[in-house]
Point group: C2
Chain length 481, copies 2
């Protein structure tokens, strides 16, 4: 800056920046993640002074980044042809992939380089609608579907319509994925936590929903919606039909929108569990609750995080409300067409008899089987450690173990002015190179400590992760007896 700059107040300084933005916390990419980047760079630059040889990112559900998951061949082949249509006739791709690319290109005048309809290409939404029709046994219109930049943008648009001022709030599970609390904070709304019961596989109860609702209402909150994350992030539970039914009735009685985060629907590992959509349950019990459900190409067995494809489905909303969602969507023109197509391919994949089917089916099975093995391996390993316990990972991509921290460690954290589990994960990174997220970033019951660790490192690295973590944990306990 030129001389004199320091003498004058800046137009935009931290003192004059929107305090809602400053107050928002998004722990998944916090200081620990930033510090990990620095350490990884030092290793890459040949630094031999660190007590580990590699940084292992277990902080974020980003499967392709950690080389544990390759993109599905069919999806990438069709997308490559949409990207460069000359490839359609180059003779190197399976017939069904070629036909799918042709049909997509025919349906998209201008190709993938043109803006689509603000809600997404009609052909893409037709594939999504048809998937939802089959899944829920209910007709689904393409007008109810909004393609978005992952699920995050969809959640944001929903909250933007709901939150009018500081008295409006949303019921959010604790622990939760911090997108909810951080977006609510930026928009100036209230995050009202309802606790999941860790002792009972992170279950949710009507009594607890009622407590949370009533306490916040008494303090003047106007509670507009309830967030349900199924399968749970970070908690890994898969909700049963009865729990979903009770939650829907609760929303019905109190006139709340149900925000159904179902992005991990394909990530169910426990053979005793089955994913059931909120909408299916709602229609079965004759509820007309308003549901916004979310999906993403980043999770499931597709794991295409970088393509930023997602959608929301609005059910039981009147057309004048839908028009407002459409206007919000139009303000950023449309979501990216590549992510849109990836979603269509994911929800209408090759079927038996298609040339691509055998490879597609084998790849899909291999991803799911491997995730299942890693889920078991990780929870077993964590449960073996003194002072650590982890519920069964029924679904999603994470373990969320509880750690019983020694009083000395809690005091040390206090002295450093950070949460005790934040202290734990920082030390874990510095000693082992493993990157996790502290439970405090997801909200948790007062006095309990957790961390979230993904089950995504490749299987041959999972043992390494477990070993580093075990050694660290023992030393940590020994350090604070």
């Amino acid at each position: 800056m030129a001389t004199g700059a320091a003498a004058r107040a800046l137009a935009l300084s931290i003192e004059t920046l929107n305090s809602n933005v400053i107050r928002a916390r998004y722990a998944v990419r916090s200081e620990v993640a930033a510090r990990a980047t620095v350490l990884a760079k030092r290793l890459a630059d040949g630094d031999k002074t660190l007590p580990f040889k590699s940084v292992i990112s277990c902080n974020i559900g980003n499967p392709q980044a950690v080389h544990s998951q390759k993109p599905l061949t069919y999806i990438r082949q069709v997308l490559a042809m949409c990207m460069y249509p000359d490839l359609v006739s180059c003779g190197i791709f399976p017939t069904d992939a070629v036909n799918r690319a042709r049909s997509l290109l025919d349906a998209m005048p201008g190709g993938i380089g043109a803006y689509s309809n603000s809600q997404g290409h009609e052909r893409v939404r037709a594939d999504i609608a048809s998937f939802l029709t089959n899944r829920d046994g209910l007709p689904t219109s393409i007008d109810e579907i909004y393609c978005t930049k992952g699920a995050s943008e969809a959640v944001r648009m929903t909250l933007e319509c709901l939150i009018r001022d500081g008295t409006d709030g949303v019921l959010v599970p604790v622990p939760q994925y911090p997108l909810y609390s951080s977006t609510l904070t930026v928009l100036g709304g209230q995050t009202i936590g309802y606790f999941l019961n860790e002792r009972d596989q992170w279950s949710q109860s009507r009594a607890e929903l009622t407590r949370a609702y009533d306490e916040a209402s008494k303090l003047g909150a106007n509670i507009r919606a309830l967030v349900l994350i199924n399968p749970g992030n970070p908690t890994g539970q898969v909700l049963d039909r009865l729990t979903i039914e009770a939650t829907i009735r609760f929303c019905d009685e109190r006139n709340m929108v149900l925000m159904a985060d179902e992005v991990y629907a394909d990530n169910v590992y426990d053979p005793d569990c089955e994913f059931v959509s909120c909408r299916r349950v709602a229609q079965e019990i004759g509820s007309n609750v308003q549901i916004v459900s979310y999906n993403s190409v980043s999770k499931g067995f597709i794991g295409e995080c970088g393509l930023r494809g997602g959608y929301m489905h609005l059910w039981n909303f009147p057309s004048d409300v839908m028009e407002q969602f459409t206007k919000l969507a139009s303000m950023s023109l449309c979501s990216n067409t590549v992510g849109q197509i990836a979603m269509a391919l994911h929800l209408r994949p090759p079927v038996e008899g298609d040339e691509s089917y055998p490879v597609y089916a084998a790849e899909r099975q291999s991803v799911i089987d491997s995730l299942r093995r890693r889920a078991v391996r990780m929870s077993e390993a964590l449960n073996k450690l003194d002072g650590m316990s982890c519920t069964l990972i029924q679904g999603a991509m994470y373990a969320f173990p509880r750690i019983r921290l020694p009083a000395g460690a809690v005091d040390e954290a206090k002295a450093r002015n950070i949460a005790p589990d934040e202290f734990y994960v920082r030390e874990l990174l510095e000693q082992t190179g493993i990157v996790c997220v502290a439970g405090s970033g997801f909200l948790q019951e007062h006095g309990t400590y957790h961390f979230r660790i993904t089950i995504l490192p490749p299987e041959d690295q999972i043992d390494e992760v477990v070993e580093r973590l075990t050694n660290f944990h023992k030393q940590f306990l020994a350090r604070f007896p």
Copy 2:
């Protein structure tokens, strides 16, 4: 919905939806655009009753949608290889494109299917930074760059940091691109218009900036930033160095952030005009104004709207402020990697000697030459019409002609409760199939009427557009003498 739904208030109805969202207007994709979709569908379904045979979209800068512009071969080849890395060795692409894809894939562990850094891949930001360093003659750090979903998301993030409550406002040119006013409305901030002078090629004056600033300040507004759109959208002017200098000094004196919308930097057609960046001028005059500048892959000669790539560059912001931008970026994880790479390829294209260069250079020149011819053709045609005048289209992608509407037409519009130029463009659509946007959607001087029409239809259709428009205009004037 199940029986009884109507008897009860909905959880989210138009009455209980955030009124800031309801008040926002985004005319570029408004009723006229929706009506055009309906008409196009009727034509496609064989309806012979309409007075035109095709809908011609001139409402949005979406070049690939109207087949006037093909994607650049080099960009799509590299992207196809990034999408499906086996193509790197298939022997059908030029060596330099193959090498570029290899080098990008090497730099992106996990490929394009992994989330990148929240600000964008380091390699992508390195290419952007190096472009900015050369363009402005100033060192540029990758830490100052945020890759975003087009420029829209970047503008939104900036305003989110700036707007704290209803007293905060931003100076916006009139006419403006409605993203600014609509986003300000959604965020609850004030849009404070400063008028561009149509008689003088939509120039902006210090006197007018002062008037706008002082009047709003007196009413209690806290003016935090000034938006400058150069080349102008919808107005097509290219600002000269002196105007930019005066605007920077104005921001300096009043301690405002300068929001520099420079997405049309490559779209300059008038040989007497040259694009100069705000940052370059600022450093030449020794200003330390805070600048956020915006760029996009949707415009220029690349026109990759569907890929949703863009970035903002923050200059002279302290690190604690940048951290807040980074947190906002991290809340939606990252922008899509395909759009990021497209931006890198656009800003570091093939150079002389590369195998791809001749085709790349020819394609680029052909797009620019064609746009230049269409800009001239469109403004000449519009100026020939009675009661219509259009300034020279120096840059960007639009004509914004002024129409002098007969009193009868103004009365008729009032009777229909719509703006007079909205009436004009609706009639234009119904009679001719041409889709434009009314000037009222961009804000305009009281009592003046305009519409925005893109110069993007292919050259062989431009004559058709001009003919339909000319016939319509004559009939319209005859209808309201």
